[in-house]
Symmetry: D3
Subunit: 144 residues, 6 copies
Amino acid sequence: MNGPVLFVTRKAHFNAAHKLFNPLWSKEENEACFGKCANEHWHGHNFDLYVTIKGIPSVDTGFVMDLKKLKVIIENEVVEHLDHKNLNLDVPFLKDILPSVENIAVVIWERLEPHLPANVKLHKIHLIETVNNSVEYYGPNTPF
Amino acid sequence: MNGPVLFVTRKAHFNAAHKLFNPLWSKEENEACFGKCANEHWHGHNFDLYVTIKGIPSVDTGFVMDLKKLKVIIENEVVEHLDHKNLNLDVPFLKDILPSVENIAVVIWERLEPHLPANVKLHKIHLIETVNNSVEYYGPNTPF
Amino acid sequence: MNGPVLFVTRKAHFNAAHKLFNPLWSKEENEACFGKCANEHWHGHNFDLYVTIKGIPSVDTGFVMDLKKLKVIIENEVVEHLDHKNLNLDVPFLKDILPSVENIAVVIWERLEPHLPANVKLHKIHLIETVNNSVEYYGPNTPF
Amino acid sequence: MNGPVLFVTRKAHFNAAHKLFNPLWSKEENEACFGKCANEHWHGHNFDLYVTIKGIPSVDTGFVMDLKKLKVIIENEVVEHLDHKNLNLDVPFLKDILPSVENIAVVIWERLEPHLPANVKLHKIHLIETVNNSVEYYGPNTPF
Amino acid sequence: MNGPVLFVTRKAHFNAAHKLFNPLWSKEENEACFGKCANEHWHGHNFDLYVTIKGIPSVDTGFVMDLKKLKVIIENEVVEHLDHKNLNLDVPFLKDILPSVENIAVVIWERLEPHLPANVKLHKIHLIETVNNSVEYYGPNTPF
Amino acid sequence: MNGPVLFVTRKAHFNAAHKLFNPLWSKEENEACFGKCANEHWHGHNFDLYVTIKGIPSVDTGFVMDLKKLKVIIENEVVEHLDHKNLNLDVPFLKDILPSVENIAVVIWERLEPHLPANVKLHKIHLIETVNNSVEYYGPNTPF
């Protein structure tokens, strides 16, 4: 297939509780490292998620991918599992993973990547925890 | 004191966990009413708080109130008690209060109002839970 | 019912085409008055709609009104009729109404007001056409 | 004239330098009161200005007021005098006025009010200095 | 020329009507593919456009390029042709192009690229259709 | 160290005055080039600064870097030197540098880069002067 390569981004969001807590450490070690984010009773965030795919627009539709379909994949694979959940307790695919925004972004990539059609590539997961903190992940082959 | 009356607003924020859950009801009744907001393991939000006061600017300073002082009052009376906390479990002044955004706004008014200087009035508490949902409270004398 | 009165706001949005055009005027008169907004082939906007209601939170739920229900009313009465529509051609309840943002806001009030529960009052329709232009409507009894 | 009363808002902005400094005080007194805002070499802001007028939409146009005309009034009376200016030094109508955001808002009201057409009223000046600080002014007859 | 390479971005915007409609397909095929975006009477959006160029700041001015000049190029080549227009009907350079946000971004690149000075390169067209949907285009040599 | 490479961004901000003025040129030459940005009495902005680092999350913490520590570095090396300052007069490390947003971004990179821990790399300085103008800098090895 020929034509220009474009990057297309779809936004989603979820509201969730979590705590930053390493179960191999004592409560004091966790507080020393994570500060108030280690509060044993949890805190939470409104997470904004931007999923970017890469591809060549179809001559018939002008679309890299039908975003209504991408929306459904993000809902089914990510949002319905994370929205209004406790990221430490409620999510099977986050079990044994410390739910930092970095680790959540990597898991979201792994959840979405197998469900995309063959003619597009997953390009970026951009996950915003607060207006001050966010992460971007470009997949497992990103060089350091 | 004479002069124009202005409304001055200071922003603060806090990230917290909560659930909407009436302890007098069964789990099923809570889920029927509150839906996913009743998740027993909590969820959370980035709350944005806008506090508006009303007064006449000082001739000496041009200020209705020194916002550095208002910031300290909001930090001491509200933010340090709510930020990175569980609103159902961790906050003495929310004990026995269902932490809906409406009820939190009323409590924030009650916390701040006694600490303001005599020459200003508390005008509004604007509390934003998500981009879709927010409340405004103008104090106990607001007519229906 | 006793208790504090709060104002609760729910956001919605719709993307629509319109033109500003008075059918009683010539094309030249329309262009002289409305400028590029009179383009006969239409233009369009992403409209953001904020609906504010007023009431006393329920002791049982902490809610002035269940916002899931308000969302459904706004969807059924407003968004499904305006989203991805031509406001001059496609909307029966805008027939013979010049679709300025002012007139649309008044019609939205009239559409929503009869569907609210008896214990709340519709307080404000805030309709944002662009980051530069918006209107607020507080109902037919607002004094000039 | 009969019909619904609406509030219409137009946004403008200006980037300016200022310092908070009372010339009747010593440098030390200014620093004690205004902190880093008293820096003798100035600091600056991107000011966002929202001007709200009130009126009844015209049957012919659907407009409370042609916002292209309101834009010109705001440009001529406010923005061209304040944008890329030093608010302490460059603005004749701010001479002898301490340029706090409160005082600037009052002066903006006084500049705009005489230029509005007879069928609308100036309702509010909303001036945003930073995401954390803003003021609203509803005119000289606002009760405390 | 030596020195650090920077990327500089200028924002513009335009409000336009369009529909997603393939004239080679039946009305039913268009609706099956494009859903409500195929509404024959059009819909519309506020488009935000971010144009990024790349270059080395001048020693004399500190500028990669005078953004006042970039603003004029964007106005002349893009905004005046798209703002308050129907993207299917009114734009000669979009004739026979299905006006998806992907295709519009490619055309904007092609319109701007020949007008930039020799010492800068066009780097990216970022076109935002709604808060949920946007595209980025880095030019015809982007590898898939 | 093995594992996925992520990009983590922390936001800061500062409010400052500056003017664009080349001291080797006459006043008229400066005005011809820089327009109103050359106003001899300064103007100012709310600058938003986004600092992006790159690294592999720690297995123990889930963090690429403790953002509380990155925040302190940004405060100590950048914000306390630029906030509420005159960028032409008050900042030793901007002496003899024309304070365009491009040049400021390069200096911020140079200030931060030596203070980051060995396991992360500074990736990007994104400096926003107004909603219309911003720059991104990826370091001295960026190819043109």
